[in-house]
Amino acid sequence: MTTGTNHSDSIKGKFFGGKGTLQEESLPSTKVLRRFLKHPGALVGSIVLGGLILAVLLGSLSPYSPVNSNIVERLQPPSLRHLMGTDALGRDLLTRILFGGRISLTVGLLVVAITLAIGVTVGAVSGYAGGWIDNVLMRITDASLTLPSLLVLILLSTILREVEMPFFEKNNVLTISIVIGLLSWMTFARLVRAAFLTLREMDYVTAARSLGASHSRVVLVHILPNAIGPIIVESTLQLGYAIIEESGLSFLGFGIQQPIPSWGNLLSNAQENFVHYPWLAIFPGLMIFLAIISVNYIGDGLRDAFDPYKVLVKIGEV
């Protein structure tokens, strides 16, 4: 994680000195896209993730109900009728996985939105304002990083299970997303702060300021767009992280509650009889694995696409 910067630092000098192609740094988005598509892992990852999302959206076409039980068909192994078998209540596992995927992916996207909102704000204010504001915000960030996050997540959801409020009842999608989001914005804050620290010293920012641009305009129009690369990369990784957090929490029984399926609580449900009916454990976990690995590959591809130095190192030009 930390080595990335060192690495580019060490070769930056050679790169600028040797070729002098500074414009490589300000690539138009088409070039980023072209480089992204050249990354085989990222391409396969995008296809797999796209397929997963499509399948999840088409889940309603399934002839089976994701919630209603059908005791006659309980614990059927995978067959043509039930491609992934059925669970202890006779519900079609594939249907439940598709509906569970909606929940898991929604939580993932919501967490990304929440962490972006908190992290980018904290990071931008911290990096742009500097001084004691920076100091206070960064100490809060450091303190949050030292939290044993899973333990706190479990505590929070134990408590929230007792709370009855509109919108937040019984650990629903929104509650779980907020809880996870509150515990994972710190990487964004640090990333954005670091970007702002360098960017605010740039001449064009001084120029914009002296032309009378307000602070908010400078931050939103001049600095933030230039920090977009790392933010996008981190967002994809955050998506994978959020999916794994939600499924872990639901696996332990503290996340999304039955009968609403999520990939995590399907695995949790399987725990009672997965030894004799292994498909109950194999398929939901496989979905989590596929989602995470494709998201990670996409993140990797995006990082290479946004960071020309690294690509050059890979090709062996530096």
């Binding site: 994680m1 930390t2 080595t3 990335g4 060192n6 690495h7 060490s10 070769i11 892992g41 100490r139 450091d142 303190a143 990083l145 030292t146 939290l147 044993p148 996050s149 899973l150 333990l151 706190v152 479990i154 505590l155 929070l156 134990t158 408590i159 007792e162 709370v163 009855e164 994978g240 794994i244 499924s247 872990g248 696996f251 332990l252 029984g253 503290f254 695995l267 399987a270 725990q271 997965f274 030894v275 004799h276 292994p278 454990a281 194999i282 939901p284 976990g285 989590i288 694995f289 995470i292 690995i293 990670n296 590959y297 990797d300």
Partner: protein
């Protein structure tokens, strides 16, 4: 340096104070109060609940409760009997002196409950991390030295996959394969046990202990192997591109001397910090692995305490866990300065 450590210690103490207030407030803000889970959540007659609240001091204002929880009440005048009006010094010592109260579930002192579990977690996580490092460090070095070789590509691919496999899923899969499917050819029993530290009712044997270790360690280690081999690979690649390594080669040093004496030493330094930063994930790994493999450690204790809403235990594990993380971060910073003389704290 001393000044730096002192400043960090004060900072750490302040953060711990804030966290303790936060955790304490959270637990006491639960609807129904912290007693909601007392006695397995059975309904309690209101009079009895009132007596219990007075006994546990839960009828005091929250700030006072916090002070008692933190510093004890043996130095202040409190009501000693829940029903009569007698007063005297309290008996609680407060968490600063190691008194975390009593578990609502087992009625044992929390510290005793935790004390029984800590060695099991240290044992499991220690072996897991040891196995992970023993595999990841050579793999990472070789991968970096032979960049883009078949070996390197395999390691990189594996580490990508390894990081994407949730440990709670891997644990279930390993149980399916090694407990349900594969059988010992001689006895016909399952090849490996699906849980526990030792077989109950059988005299202790090293073989038995090892058999119980294999699956939980494999489950826990895979992710760490993936993460550390990947990290060490990029750390080594960083170092390999440095000028002083070219100098070392130009001096005519052998490849081995260059890699092990010059490159590896420097590549390992970031691992120290990484290790400290990873402690929270070691905790969460312990929760999953101990729950799946019925391993009587801290992680499973926390999981059970959360299910039973045993708040004194939850609070104690959180406070101890957070202190360990903060302390290890501090140690890593100090240690880092010893390892890398280029770093000076001002």
């Amino acid at each position: 340096m001393v000044q730096f450590i002192l400043r960090r210690l004060i900072q750490a103490a302040f953060i711990m104070f804030l966290l303790s207030v936060l955790f304490f407030a959270l637990v006491n803000l639960v609807p129904g109060g912290p007693l909601a889970g007392y006695g397995g959540g059975r309904h309690m007659p209101p009079e009895q609940a009132a007596i219990l609240r007075r006994q546990l001091g839960l009828d005091n204002p929250l700030p006072l409760q916090y002070v008692v929880w933190m510093f004890g009440n043996d130095w202040m005048n409190v009501k000693t009997n829940a029903t009569t009006s007698g007063t005297g010094n309290g008996i609680r010592l407060g968490i600063l002196r190691g008194d975390f109260g009593f578990s609502y579930h087992t009625r044992q002192p929390v510290l005793t409950v935790i004390g029984e579990r800590i060695p099991n977690t240290l044992y499991l996580m220690g072996v897991t991390l040891l196995v992970a490092l023993v595999i990841a460090i050579p793999a990472g070095i070789l991968s970096a030295v032979r960049q883009y070789s078949f070996f390197d590509i395999s390691v990189t691919t594996f580490s990508f996959a390894g990081q994407a496999i949730p440990d709670f899923w891997l644990g279930l899969i390993l149980i399916i394969v090694f407990y349900a499917w594969l059988k010992n050819p001689i006895t016909g029993d399952s090849l490996l046990p699906a849980g526990g530290i030792l077989t109950i009712g059988v005299p202790f044997s090293v073989l038995d202990a090892l058999q119980h270790l294999i699956l939980p360690v494999a489950t826990g280690a895979l992710g760490w192997i993936a993460w550390y081999s990947r990290f060490l690979r990029s750390s080594m690649l960083d170092v390999i591109h440095q000028d002083y390594l070219r100098t070392a080669r130009a001096k005519g040093l052998s490849q081995q001397a260059v890699i092990f004496k010059h490159a590896l030493r420097n590549a390992l330094i970031p691992l120290v910090t990484l290790f400290a930063l990873d402690l929270p994930y070691i905790f969460s790994g312990a929760v999953f692995i101990e729950t799946i493999f019925a391993w009587p450690g801290m992680g499973r204790l926390y999981y059970q305490a959360a299910q039973q809403r045993d708040y004194p235990v939850l609070l104690a594990v959180l406070i101890i866990g957070a202190s360990m993380i903060i302390l290890s971060n501090l140690l890593a910073d100090v240690f880092y300065a010893f390892l890398d003389p280029r770093i000076r704290y001002s």
